[in-house]
Amino acid sequence: MLSRTAESVYWMSRYLERAANVARVVGVNLNLEIDLAGLAEEQWRPMVQVGGDEAAFAERYAAPTRSNVIEFLTIDRTNPNSIASCVAAARENARTVREIISSEVWQEINEFYLDVTAPEARRFALHDAVRFFGSVTRACHVVAGTKSETMEHGEAWNFSRLGRFVERADQTSRILDVKYFLLLPSAGDVGRPVDDLQWSALLRSASGFEAYRRTWGLVSSESVVAFLLFDRAFPRSVGYCVTQAEVSLHGVTGTPMRRFANRAEQLLGRLASELDYTDAGEVVGGGLHEFVDALQDRFNQIGDAITATFFRQG
């Protein structure tokens, strides 16, 4: 397929995944807010940190209050990582590849866009927030399902899937970093009894609470780290996402697994093996924040390698 088209499909999926993550993270806070009968600003600030947009937020808003944070993360088009901006970017990419994605996929993305950019979206987001974020998450699931059911599982599909899993791996690691820092400010706190409500919320923001419970039972900080970084079956764990990204990348090129024919395959394969042979104890011992920082660097390198290999050759 055309390099330009492949790039658009890839970014279309990345933006959609980003929108879904914003919705998930904020949605969980809203639930927590009800359980705790209100949240302090300290609980809303991390929502902005997950996207790495603190400076942009501070420029336009006085304090990380509930309504400021929700506005910033949902309908604020000056924030490139707001839900509306992400969905608009996904839709703009989709518009340039309408002939490649199926009509059904296009239509779902277009409807999603019309909904989140409609004038009523602001009221919906601020005054019926739980339902609003639920509807965003659902729309993302519908798009993902429609892609799976209506697109041929060929090159475009693999680029779309590659974008989705690269973005998701990145987002899960950010969620873990920010919340972990908030819940366990110092390494000495590891192993202390934890606030079950808060940790469960962290798992829920990755849609992982139920899966975690089945595998690990009661919540402990280390097992949450193990689960979100390494679980082999949970579709939002970093390890799972990296492996699936690798599968899609090899689907594009036809290179056998455990071999590489370009820089993107090399970097992604190397990261996948490292994650396979690392455990949560090592991560916590060496500092979770440092580990996630290093991961983010790796994701950036992988993203650059994908671009150079497929989208902007020479």
Binding site: M1, L2, A6, W106, Q107, N110, F311
Partner: protein, 476 residues
């Protein structure tokens, strides 16, 4: 909802006779509409509008540099073309396209038609679409105008005229297909049992036409659609046609000429393109050959075309026949090349560069429609009976300054079709643009784009100026 009280208002109405009774071919449709429950037609209309928006069937409008997407307004009452009338239109269009293709080929070879005194050399060479660079070229199969959208109008007495031949990159066929799809989706019961001819095989026909003119030796030819990009006003159509044909939609930056052949940049390196259905004007195709500042095209593309390793559709230079002065000579071309009389008449046309014609035009500006020879989209026209004295003076000056660039025609009384206005029917003026494909034989899609001037009394049907569209039912 009934047509009671619907008045044809002295115009030719496509569905009703002057006495208010439905035309025989329209009677089943009228009965069905009248048999609908209260509000059902309006609901269908709203559902159709919503569906068009949700499906993203839009065009871009530019204001102050900002683009917005709008749907092409759609009216749910179809326009009907009965079998016999369509048969004549089809024959007429086949004849016309065949003659036009002969003409273009002749222009770029021996110019027999000029030598024989039928068309003046001046007219040919002053046509804006004339491209000296195309002299002597032989496109595969001798086909220049592969895809044409001819505008037809019906005057008050029922005569169907050809208003213009759009031979460059006629747009609108996607709306023909999508209007039908939306009608079927939102209003399926209205079709029940009526012999409406399908239009959905157009993309297959188009693909066959494109593959059929591939350079010799290409196994299964690789076809691509060239678009100026997502900001083009009809980008939707470019992507729709590429999708429906299952071919790549490319932009200039995706293409490169290597060793005299055209390639696209793919995730696996360069891949050859054999046939390029371009939706950009000649001027922008190749900065090495035409406009050097074009960033939409591909340097070297014309070299690949000339060497016969690439087919470009429509062929560069085809626009020579898409000029309102050349248009006036089409009936003469038909006689000259085919030895036949034109089946579909031209609208009588005065050419302002002829002294006698110009004098007549200047004397009758308040009655005539004056058009620039080389504009599309309905821009830059003077509609005499609706003009002010100042506008007429302005046009008189323009005509005097550039007589070659103006033609004039009588103001036609365009036919009307009942159109849903709030909760009743009112007549609105329409035209009809059928689409013709030319491969080894001409093919006329049984249908076409019926554009409707939604503003009361307006004669301007262009989408950029308040026009909408209707489904067009050609009956079997």
């Amino acid at each position: 909802m009934t047509f009671e009280g619907y008045a044809t208002g002295g115009f030719y109405d496509e569905l009703f006779n002057a006495d208010g009774s439905p035309r025989p071919e329209a009677r089943p449709l009228v009965e069905r509409i009248e048999g609908l429950a209260d509000g059902e037609l309006l609901r269908s209309q709203q559902a159709a509008t919503r569906a068009l928006l949700r499906m993203g069937i839009t065009f871009n409008v530019y204001h102050d540099g900002h683009g917005t997407e709008r749907i092409f307004p759609f009216d749910v009452v179809p326009r009907i073309v009965p079998r016999g009338a369509w048969h004549e239109i089809e024959r007429g269009l086949r004849q016309r396209i065949t003659a036009l293709n002969h003409f273009i080929d002749d222009v770029y070879h021996d110019r027999r038609i000029v030598a024989d005194g039928v068309v003046p050399a001046d007219v040919v060479e002053s046509s804006q679409g004339y491209r000296r660079e195309c002299m002597g070229l032989d496109p595969p199969g001798g086909v220049w105008c592969h895809i044409t959208g001819t505008d037809l109008v019906r005057d008050g007495d029922g005569t169907v005229y050809v208003l213009e031949d759009n031979l460059r990159c006629p747009s609108g066929v996607s709306y023909v297909l999508e209007n039908r799809a939306v009608m079927k989706q939102t209003f399926s019961k209205i079709f029940d049992g009526l012999p409406v001819r399908p239009v959905s095989d157009y993309p297959s026909r188009l693909l066959r036409t494109l593959e059929g003119v591939a350079p010799r030796g290409a196994g299964r030819p690789s076809v691509a659609v060239l678009t100026p990009g997502v900001h083009n006003s009809v980008y939707f159509e470019h992507s729709f046609l590429a999708q429906q044909m299952g071919v790549e939609l490319v932009e200039g930056r995706d293409l490169v000429v290597n060793d005299g052949a055209l390639f696209m940049r793919t995730t696996r390196g360069l891949e050859r393109v054999d046939v390029l259905y371009r939706r950009i004007d000649d001027d922008f195709l190749d900065p090495d050959c035409f406009r050097p500042d074009s960033v939409l095209g591909v340097p070297g593309l014309m070299r690949a075309y000339r060497s016969g390793r690439l087919t470009v559709v429509n062929a560069p230079g085809t626009g020579v026949a898409d000029d309102k002065v050349v248009y006036a000579y089409v009936p003469a071309m038909i006689r000259y090349y085919l030895g036949e009389d034109a089946i579909l008449p031209n609208v009588p046309t005065w050419l302002c560069w002829r002294d006698r014609d110009r004098a007549h035009v200047l004397d009758h500006l308040d009655e005539l429609v004056v058009k620039p020879a080389n504009e599309s989209g309905g821009y830059g026209m003077l509609i005499g009976p609706r003009s002010t004295a100042a506008e007429r003076a302005d046009f008189a000056a323009r005509i005097a300054a550039e007589p070659r660039n103006y033609i004039a025609q009588p103001t036609l009384s365009l036919s009307r079709v009942p159109t849903l206005v709030d909760d009743r029917f009112e007549g609105r003026h329409v035209d009809l643009r059928p689409y013709i494909l030319l491969g080894s034989e001409p093919f006329v899609l049984p249908g076409g784009l019926t554009r409707v001037a939604l503003t009361k009394g307006s004669l301007v049907v262009n989408s950029s100026q308040g026009g909408g569209s209707k489904d067009t039912w050609v009956l079997a």
